[in-house]
């Protein structure tokens, strides 16, 4: 039971981590990806549709990544190149993507008589490691996306703090002028970072459709993008912080699913469903954030 809970927590934290890690990188350059909810949804739809049509989950992931990239590039174009407001733009794009996915779902599948499904990503047990009692089943009997986060967290940390790229990224969010004067294009740094975030967030979105449930509905993201967004804040813009944050949220979500499945009579289901949202609110209020990139959300005008 406990193993089941934790194993599911790790599973549920996968897309949140992909999302919040992307946010950490983008926000370190000064750009909040407020279109994240839309990118998740787009990835979920494209991933499902491609997987359904081609019968290949790999193709699903590829298309999810591509669609995430496209949405992120649209967002980056408006907020980085055209320097428009990040929150307003993200909100508009989220509405656009919701409309687009509902419409495309209908274009591609019409009104199906029975629910459309694909076989979701299979769990792969890692030899030996998965046999470790307790730890094994929790961490080493997961799907390929979950394994990817074991690599991405240390990799993200390494890039951010140990490479010149990371130094440029961190400097861009703190003082873009310093980056500009050093001869690096602030817009390019921001544009590229947001675009790559889009690829990863697209895959994160696909996790909800083909990584886990094997179906698609337009309300399946249900604010998960925003939670990933919140985790980036709560994790103090640090990959390790994001990792810890996602585990907590993954646990909350796994706990909620478990409680619903067991139809608790003492406390209402809705309370458990609300748990991640309430948790975000409580943490946002109670936690003092530091490390906020100084120029987060502020457009940079290159002098010309």
């Amino acid at each position: 039971m406990l193993i089941n809970l934790f194993s599911r927590a790790v599973l549920m934290s996968t897309p949140l981590l992909l999302g919040s890690l992307s946010e950490v990188f983008s926000e370190r350059t000064g750009v909040m990806v407020t279109a994240i909810e839309g990118i998740f949804l787009m990835g979920a739809w494209a991933g499902f549709t491609a997987a359904y049509i081609t019968g290949s989950l790999a193709m699903g992931l590829l298309y999810a990544a591509l669609s995430g990239l496209l949405v992120a590039m649209l967002y980056a174009y408006i907020v980085v190149t055209l320097k428009q407001h990040q929150i307003v733009t993200g909100t508009a794009i989220n509405i656009l993507i919701l409309g687009l996915c509902s419409f495309l779902q209908r274009v591609v599948f019409g009104v199906p008589l029975s629910p459309l499904t694909v076989e979701p990503l299979q769990k792969i047990a890692i030899p030996l490691l998965s046999k470790i009692p307790f730890i094994g089943p929790i961490f080493f009997q997961q799907n390929i996306l979950t394994y990817s986060i074991y690599v991405l967290v240390p990799l993200g940390y390494f890039i951010l703090y140990k490479t010149s790229l990371g130094l440029v990224i961190r400097s861009t969010g703190e003082n873009p002028e310093a980056v500009d004067v050093s001869g690096i294009s602030v817009s390019r740094v921001r544009f590229v970072t947001v675009s790559i975030s889009g690829i990863i967030c697209g895959i994160a979105g696909a996790f909800y459709s083909i990584g886990y449930l094997g179906k698609f509905t337009t309300n399946m993201i249900g604010g998960r993008g925003w939670i990933a967004f919140a985790i980036c804040f709560l994790g103090n813009w640090n990959p390790i912080g994001a990792f810890v944050g996602t585990l907590i949220f993954g646990l909350a979500e796994a706990f909620a699913i478990l409680m619903q499945a067991n139809a608790s009579t003492i406390l209402p289901n809705e309370l458990f469903i609300s748990l991640p949202y309430i948790l975000t609110i409580v943490l946002t209020i109670s936690r003092k954030s530091f490390n906020v990139p100084s120029k987060l959300g502020v457009a940079y005008y290159e002098e010309h």
Binding site: K162, T163, S164, L167, V168, R170, S171, E174, N175, E177, A178, V179, D180, V181, S182, G183, I184, S185, S294, E303, H304
Partner: protein, 505 residues
């Protein structure tokens, strides 16, 4: 004549609302220190930013050793071994010295140890005492400038452009900087020194180019000129002789009294330390000092935006230490902030609304919460006329005005609405001379109206021209309070650098 090291030919640059450079041609040779002299807004920085690739010229060409080159980004400039230190620096304050210096100049994985060692050695070689592991935010302004210079040296630059490098330094730090500049140029490097201070120019430069309203107005060797001539070239209209009025310190009663004022942020060095002074009615009291020595905090504490840790503030014998900003405005404290964009105006509102900013709680212009717009517009129009503000009318947006005219609006507002005590925090910074004269005469007029005035300024000439008495600030402490007639600029310079009164005398 030999081929110049770097040369700009017929450079013009147009911004949205101003001509920044028009037909500017200049050159610099190896081993030369060239001073680019001019008032604020004369186009000196723009022209150098074009050379450094931060701006693109609309017209004109750049040459290096006779060969035409194209500089589209700072990266191109660096390739030609040009380095530029911006006026307000461009350092990431949350990062270390090393991180700042190698930004953009390393590839792939960073070997922190090696980078730190290289830079530390470089610092030693030039006699810069900087800890490369320290964060920029923990360094003094003087040290930050050393980091900027180190960055240029790290890049092996042959042409170093410095934009107003002395503005934030103490006189002693300035001497050190000058020494560095001389040594550096002697090695065959060129330095372009942007400044508006005549004295420095005569001290360090070999050749001087004077700019005015975006054009070149003179190109002279130091030996062939003098300060009088330079100032004539630089200034279109001279500073008006101001009638300072009689010194009424004894006559007027005390308006503002500050006693033992101390501001200490949690576990940190005091920003203000035991500050005592009185300002009398009809007196202009100056606050001199290198910027960042507690002046900003003093203003903030007096107008109520910052809470003192201890001490008290009395206005007309009433204790206002714990009153809110709003109450202090009602009691008649006016404040012309140094950063008008941030604290003084709402740029996207019109001038009427900006006038109303300080009056939104006053009964005079509102009927039970409804704004009396007609009266407001009339008063604003009158004020625009009185203070000679060049603006289309009370409904023009604040952002559409030039800096000088914006400042006139703020000065007008604070003077018209406030009763007894007005703080002017660097009221002429960044203004052209016409506007400076305008602001100065407004200040003197209020003195005649028997108001108590506090004038914070980093320009000693302004202090001497206007103030009756002056307090010199250093690290949040008053070094001494003097009648301006008792001081000269050398004494005040030493006081600003932290020497005590006894040492100076």
């Amino acid at each position: 004549m030999s081929t110049p090291f770097f040369e700009l030919k017929n450079i013009s640059k147009y911004f949205a609302k101003v001509i920044a450079n028009k037909d500017v041609s200049l050159s610099v040779d190896r081993g030369e220190v060239l001073a680019l002299l001019g008032e604020n807004g004369a186009g000196k920085s723009t022209c150098m930013k074009i050379l450094y690739g931060l701006y693109q010229a609309d017209e004109g060409e750049i040459f290096k050793e006779g060969e035409r080159i194209s500089i589209r980004t700072p990266r191109d400039a660096m390739r030609y071994k040009i380095s530029m230190i911006q006026q307000h620096f461009s350092l990431v304050s949350a990062h270390t010295v090393t991180e700042n210096i190698i930004l953009g100049n390393v590839k792939g994985k960073i070997n922190w140890k090696e980078a730190e060692n290289t830079i530390q050695q470089l610092a030693h070689r030039y006699g810069f005492n900087v800890d490369v592991r320290k964060k920029i935010q923990d360094l003094s302004v003087g040290e930050q400038q050393k980091v900027e210079i180190l960055k240029s040296l790290y890049l092996d630059a042959n042409l170093l452009i410095m934009d107003e490098p002395t503005a934030v330094l103490t006189p002693q730090e300035i001497d050190n900087l000058m020494e560095f500049v001389e040594n550096y140029s002697r090695k065959g490097n060129a330095v372009i020194f942007i400044t508006h201070k005549l004295k420095e120019v005569m001290h360090v430069a070999n050749r001087i180019i004077v700019m005015r309203s975006g054009r070149i107005h003179g190109n002279v060797l130091k030996e062939a000129t003098n300060e009088m001539e330079l100032s004539r070239m630089m200034i279109e209209h001279s500073i008006e002789e101001l009638d300072k009025g009689e010194d009424k310190r004894e006559a007027g009663e005390v308006c503002l009294s500050v006693q033992g004022l101390t501001v200490v942020p949690r576990n940190e060095v005091p920003l203000l330390h035991d500050v005592d002074f009185d300002i009398h009615k009809g007196e202009i009291f100056g606050i001199a000092g290198v910027s960042g020595n507690g002046q900003q905090e003093l203003c903030m504490t007096l107008c109520g935006a910052m809470k003192p840790t201890s001490g008290s503030i009395l206005l007309n014998n009433e204790d206002i230490t714990h009153l809110s900003i709003r109450k202090r405005i009602t009691l008649g404290i006016g404040y012309v902030p140094s950063d008008r964009h941030r604290y003084g105006m709402v740029m996207d509102m019109n001038l009427s609304e900006n006038m109303f900013l300080k009056a939104s709680y006053s009964k005079e212009w509102n009927n039970n919460g409804i704004i009396n717009r007609k009266k407001l517009a009339e008063t604003t129009s009158r004020m625009l006329h009185k203070y000679d503000v060049k603006a289309p009318g009370p409904y023009a947006l604040a952002r559409e005005l030039s800096g000088g005219n914006q400042q006139k609006v703020i000065v007008g507002r604070e003077v018209e609405f406030c009763g007894d005590f007005i703080i002017f925090d660097q009221p002429t910074r960044g203004l052209d001379l016409g506007a400076i004269n305008n602001v100065h005469s407004a200040i003197l007029k209020e003195k005649k109206n028997n108001k108590a005035i506090m004038l914070v300024s980093t320009e000693l000439s302004e202090i001497f021209a206007l103030c009756d008495r002056v307090a010199v600030f250093y690290k949040g402490k008053i070094q001494g309070i003097f009648r301006t007639s008792e001081l000269d600029s050398q004494k005040i310079g030493l006081l600003m650098a932290g020497y005590t009164h006894q040492e100076v005398v």
